[in-house]
Amino acid sequence: MASKVTGRQATLLRVLVLSGTFFLAAGERVKNKIYDEIQGDMACFKRFNGTHEIGCTSKFFGNTGVLHVIEEKADFDWVYEHGPHQPYVLAFTPLFLTEAVLERATDSGKVSGVVVVVPEDFDPETQLLDGFSGETECPDAYLGLYNASSNPDYAGYCRKKPWNPNGTSMLYTSWEFPIFLITNQTSVNNIQNCFEKFNKPVNGMPRDWPLCSLELKSNMYGTTNSEVCMRRASIGPLSTDNFCDPLYDYNIWGTLKPMNMSEEIPEKSVIIVAARMDAATMFDNISPGANSAVSGIITLMSAAAAIFKHKEEIINVSNKNILFILFQGETWGYIGSSRVVWDMEQGQFPYKVKDDVKDQIAQINLTHIDYFIELEQVGQPEDINKLYIHTDPISNANPELKNETDNLLNILDEASNLVNETKFVRVRKDVPLPPSSIQSFLKHVNISGVVITDHEGEFKNPYYESFLDNYRNVKYEADNETSDADLYHKHINNVASVLATAIYKLATNTHKKITADPELTNELLFCYMKNMTCNLVQEYGGEMAKHLEPKPAKLYVSVESGERYRSYVTMYLMAGLLGDEVERNQSDCKIESIYNMNHFYYFSHLHNGTCVQTTVRMTEAMSPAFLIDDYDWKSGEYSTWTESGWKLTKVMIFLRPSVLEEVAVVCGGVVSLVLSVIVVHFMNSRADLLFGLSTPPAAC
């Protein structure tokens, strides 16, 4: 439900369905005998940046084609060389989802669409040995710190040693036909059965009409690039559909202690602990990002919860503050982090100064930042006890900064020793940072920061930014929130513990072993990886929880009017973890102004109603490119990604008759009409003769 239009459409449909059930008793229309609707919510859709378009679109009225299920490589050749019933819609498992296959399909000109079916027994680990990632080999390199213009020394590093060797760039290619992902088993079986019954060639000989066909509808409104597309949107005054929208969501963050504008924030007093909130795939409605995002999010939340238990100690002994932040849209050119940096530079983070608000939150700027600790993918270490710490070679060339960074590294080491579960290994100093949010900061300010990951060189995650990056990928095995058997949550919890211990030391300069709560970690993991309707979300999610489905969290960043329930739920969870319970009833549990330093949230399902006071809030995460007047779309300074609008995505399966049959029917109709016109005219004009001789019937 990513697009604006789609979002609105869905509610609309629901309304229609509701009213439809009242107004029209559900009937047995013949339509239902002709068509079967197949899961069609996971369509590849279009996105744009300042210069290009990526993704796929169908034609306006949809693409139809004869279904051909590919079981082995030879089937492709059959379609391209022998298949007489073009155009075809190819159906295959992710095994064949490679650039080469798609390119050949494009070149053949015989393919009008592709559906990627994922049968239940499809096991990526044994079948998809090469891994699969739609991302490029160097994710976000263009908008990162190490691009060719600013840091030529390191710009080439990734090209030599790609971070994401499985990257196919498929996500960043513009395809000529629609591509759908189908995971629903009924739909998968439907396709398989229909193919075998009507279409499967017998001994290599094609079958005759009627043939099983698919119609793929995913027409995108936008074209060309963000610049053109945004410009068009501003032309049509009566336009109700949007051509494209900037990617948009909210950064979610909170501080350990509230920052009142009346108290000045000392320089270098804010320790930022960051992770990224979003993941992406080629397809709408599925973006599990188990390792690429969830591992970091949960580690951060667990650590935050653990530290918050020691809030008083820290506040009492230290003037340092800790800011936990989840950045949105990092996949698409560091949208969230670049926006925070931009706001800080403008002196408007989190908000511009308001004149008449009491207890207003203080503005944080770049000089307030002390340390920056970022959690990237931390879930798939080769050795379960070993994580890697990356630092930036450029900023650390400055000796002063290097000292600070070394201090940070030492503290992390000490913390890991103290917790004694997870070891941190420092990556070679001349290796640039992997794709990470801190790059946005380092582009503008020199701060000492580290990025904690599970990989030293290339990603350990074979399915980076793909729909396969799910709980199976990270081997998260818990079947419910309380399952203890699972090892994965223990690993994440250990990382959180080390992190919490290190942060405590950074803030207070004293060592204390802090242990994160493994149960909490497990519950959080279960929610995000498997089921967003879990207990925790029910307790904290409030109204938003009702909109979530019992599926893994969808972590795609979406657009302004897109679906954002998981962001709200995440904010509420953060609020619950980083908040103090206060004695207020529901009606008092609210804020006067969003500019207040403290926010209040009421959780009606938590202990029969709990009011929480916290600093957690959301701030807009939309690329500064859309806020700067006359921004040069091609400059590459900020993310310019926009998403196309569309109306609906839909897949239908049905039989198509032969043209001959259709012609025959039409001829029959025309004959029927002509014949009857002649007969009727004859009878009408000769009526007197035909009937006239009879005596008129007696009138009553």
Partner: protein, 258 residues
């Protein structure tokens, strides 16, 4: 695309009734109104049968029940419509001033009413099926017979024609108090409707229905005053026109016997 099927089946089913409407009804406002009004009566009949069908919840799975009663309702409303026309005959005469055949030749009114019944019943049975045909697909994926559409169209056509003939026979029967004819109409309608319960065994149902159609057509033709001799003279054409004209003033009905 199967817009072709849409047009094909649509023309097969409604081609004859369109021709009848265009050539014989649309030119005369009174006939048009009568056509719409009789269609309205058919609607009422359908409404009552649907109410019955909905009300008797236990029997909703047995379509035969609904069919039988719906046939009875239709014939009842045909009768009511006949009564109404009788009542309104005086008014009708005034209305049809200058075009007296509609009053003088009862068959015209019968034909118009029959066509009204036929067109609306044909529309109700086929129009949604036609609308569903317009997509890219055809039927058959779920084990339905491949010639479902054609069979629907052909059967609809038969029923439209049947209604026309029944209209003529029914009205004639009432006028002449020929109750055998009346019984024939009702039984024929019942038989035709009930035989369709056997669908999709088209090899049985369609021939049966068409035999009934042709039989009813012939009967209606005879009742309306036709015979093989009139057909011959009609083919021979003009010579007798003047004489005929004088004989049967304004009697240029067009009862359709296809």
């Amino acid at each position: 695309m199967t817009v072709a099927e849409f047009f094909g089946c649509g023309l097969i089913a409604f081609g004859p009734s369109l021709a009848m409407f265009g050539l014989t009804i649309a030119t005369d406002p009174i006939r048009t109104i009568m056509l719409v009004a009789s269609a309205f009566f058919w609607l009422l009949a359908l409404l009552f049968s649907s109410i019955l069908y909905t009300a008797v919840v236990q029997l909703q799975d047995y379509l035969a029940f609904g069919v039988v009663f719906s046939v009875l309702f239709q014939e009842l409303f045909r009768f009511l419509w006949f009564l109404l026309i009788q009542k309104a005959e005086g008014g009708l005469k005034k209305v049809s001033d200058g075009n007296m055949q509609i009053v003088e030749n009862k068959h015209i009114l019968a034909y118009v009413s029959g066509l009204g019944f036929g067109m609306i019943s044909g529309a109700f049975s086929l129009v949604n099926v036609l609308a569903d045909m317009t997509g890219p697909g055809t039927i058959g994926m779920k084990g339905d017979p491949k010639n479902f559409f054609i069979a629907s169209a052909v059967t609809s056509l038969a029923f439209i024609l049947l209604h026309v003939f029944w209209g003529i026979l029914f009205f004639n029967a009432l006028h002449r108090r020929a109750y055998l004819q009346l019984a024939y109409v009702i039984l024929c309608h019942m038989l035709a409707s009930c035989i369709t319960l056997m669908n999709p065994i088209y090899s049985v149902t369609i021939p049966t229905i068409w035999i009934l159609t042709i039989l009813s057509g012939v009967l209606a033709f005879i009742v309306a005053g036709g015979s093989h001799r009139t057909i011959q003279s009609a083919f021979r054409g003009r010579p007798q026109v003047l004489q005929v004209n004088a004989d049967a003033t304004g009697n240029f009905t067009q009862v359709g016997g296809m």
